[in-house]
Symmetry: C2
Subunit: 381 residues, 2 copies
């Protein structure tokens, strides 16, 4: 399947302050985004893709490195010409969220109020804050209503939030491998990761930029523990099992098992490129997402405002956001008599399945988008 | 139910070197142990209790603190007069393993070869090494054959190992909430914990004693991640859910949720009393346990040497060592035509259930020990 080829990020600057859920505001910020495909004449074929923890606006296509290396978008298997989200038919936008370390204004950028990097002063942002910022970007791009807003995991929370904050600005809401709120166990894993970062002596209370260091130890442990929750027990068993690096026990604390080598490598790599303050911010956004909270924990009441049609997808071996969590959303939508499609994919890969190639999964999304495309044709007729 | 009352630890010194699986040896070591009840005339009523990660020889009864505080044994609900392991009928031994930080020779003790604390030089010990040391203690106590060897989790691995290394020295083997070997996911969690400790700047390559510091940050994160795996998702949800400490989101990185408060407290407490080198050693012993390894991963072949009768117990919500893992052991024993009782207890508490009061669990163990007691009467008749 061909990719989009070479793509390039764009930037949009906002001078007006963005009021945040915390009561704070961000002044003078920039959002980085990419677009693929062509916006049609009546501006009805726009799709917004929301990203999860360590992803960005670079959804599809490729950046070519100066060294000839290729950096494909994180959902390049999903978005592109002829792909499930077909850029020959849809105008697709990927946008980097506030607080990220991939281009949009974040903790490593200069705080106009102080002339120094935000660091620990970057305000805590919520899923709803991100959605408000995304809506302002849509305004600038002249998109009144999205054909669909779509995301997986934390991206799915943003899609769901769109259906609540701007019910009339999306016709379809596609929520993959997500949850209406984090469980105590989910929060616990996030807090372990945060504590690893916060207690790293190189964190310097979030102002490590000024010290010329990076809290790599904390980021590394945070990523390792996070990564375990993205994989299923079974897929880890199949991929690594108890395979030994050197055939025998080493009787030391170096690497014995391949799974140790893999996880440490993932942790090392992550600590080279990810920002520690961003990690803290994004895990907090995850923890805080809970649209039923203002409705006495009644998700049906919370979702009464929605107007969109929904596709939900979950994966059987996802123990981070299990199918039960998706079914709660489905049930609450059904209770509100919304149109909902739901697919529970028997996939072995755990939470990560939402990023991977699986024919049943891809075909489910493709079929749903074919329906959206038929609607577009009817609108045009 | 009355406890044993005040108990006191004893020590046994061993001058002869203990040969270890790694090829190294420990010279001149001490084992700390406790005994409860009375050894009968034919020395046939001895029970050995093996401990898990953060426990010790202090299985039951109480130490009274100088401040009047009481420190009950970790299995005081299981072992005592009239309890499932009835000290009115059995002579029960709890022994602290080598490498521990609770009294038996460990990394914080003086290495006779250097005159300084072992630190990183304490040899990596295996479950089998511990069992060999326990057998030497049994020799000294004049116990040729145990009525039963029993343990939960890592303690269950020791019990299983007894049945393999000394098939004729135990009549019953009681393995609770255990596994024939760790999965890749189990090892992954252990390695995250180890990496948190090893990369703590206060660890000093294991020789932190000389620096007058303790790698508390690493120990704290290690314990937090471990603790999550001991609890079930459901029990965490029931006990903490998304309950907030102060009613509202704080929009910072202090404590928002009760689960965060609980976990950090557990981590803090643990880092005050547990030794970092011991944590590394014990997680390695867990990772290395794999009796089928020398038998082409054929557990049935590995367990062919066993002579004991078995009781296995697992808990439905234990996702650390799930019932499936216990069933593998049961199946391998059945394949060898061994007598096996197996109870799968529907308990909500996850892996920790093996330490908790649950009538079905307690009654299962009690009934099994009643059978052992009847055997003793028949032997005496």
């Amino acid at each position: 399947m061909p990719s989009l080829g070479i793509v390039a990020p764009q930037t949009m600057h906002f001078a007006e302050p963005l009021q945040l859920a915390s009561g704070a505001s961000i002044n003078d910020y920039t959002l980085v985004y990419e677009t693929y495909g062509t916006l049609n004449a009546d501006r009805s074929n726009a799709i917004l893709i929301c990203h999860a923890l360590n992803a960005s606006h670079h959804v599809a296509g490729v950046y070519e490195g100066v060294d000839g290396s290729k950096n494909f978008g994180w959902w390049d298997n999903m978005v592109g010409p002829g792909k499930p989200v077909d850029t020959d038919r849809f105008f697709v936008i990927g946008v980097n969220n506030l607080g990220s370390c991939f281009g949009s204004t974040g903790p490593m950028h200069i705080n106009p109020a102080t002339g120094k990097p935000y660091g620990a002063d970057f305000p805590v942002v919520t899923v709803e804050d991100w959605v408000h910022a995304q809506a302002l970007l849509a305004d600038r791009l002249g998109i009144e209503q999205f054909a669909a807003v779509m995301g997986g995991s934390l991206g799915g929370m943003q899609a769901l939030s769109w259906s609540l904050l701007f019910p009339h600005r999306l016709r379809h809401c596609i929520v993959i491998a997500s949850t209406p709120k984090l469980s105590a166990q989910n929060i616990a894993f996030n807090d372990v990761a945060r504590q690893a970062i916060l207690t790293d002596p190189d964190f310097h209370g979030g102002d490590f930029y000024a010290h010329g260091v990076v809290p790599k130890r904390g980021l590394r442990v945070a990523r390792m523990v996070g990564h375990i929750t993205y994989l299923s027990d079974d897929s880890m068993a199949e991929k690594f099992g108890r395979e030994l690096r050197n055939g025998n026990y080493q009787f030391g604390f170096g690497i014995d098992f391949e799974i140790e080598s893999y996880l440490r490598y993932q942790g090392d790599k992550f600590s080279e490129y990810f920002d520690a303050n961003t990690y803290l911010l994004i895990t907090k956004a995850l923890d805080y997402f809970d649209p039923a909270r203002d409705y006495g924990d009644d998700l049906t009441k919370a979702l009464a405002r929605t107007q969109a049609q929904f596709l939900l997808v979950s994966f059987t071996t996802d123990w981070r956001f299990s199918p039960e969590r998706s079914r709660e959303i489905v049930q609450a939508l059904v209770n509100n008599k919304r149109k909902v499609s739901y697919a529970e994919i028997a996939a072995p890969h755990g939470h990560d399945a939402f990023l991977l190639e699986d024919p049943r999964y891809m075909n489910t999304v493709r079929a749903y988008y074919n329906g959206i495309a038929r609607e577009l044709l009817r609108r045009a007729a």
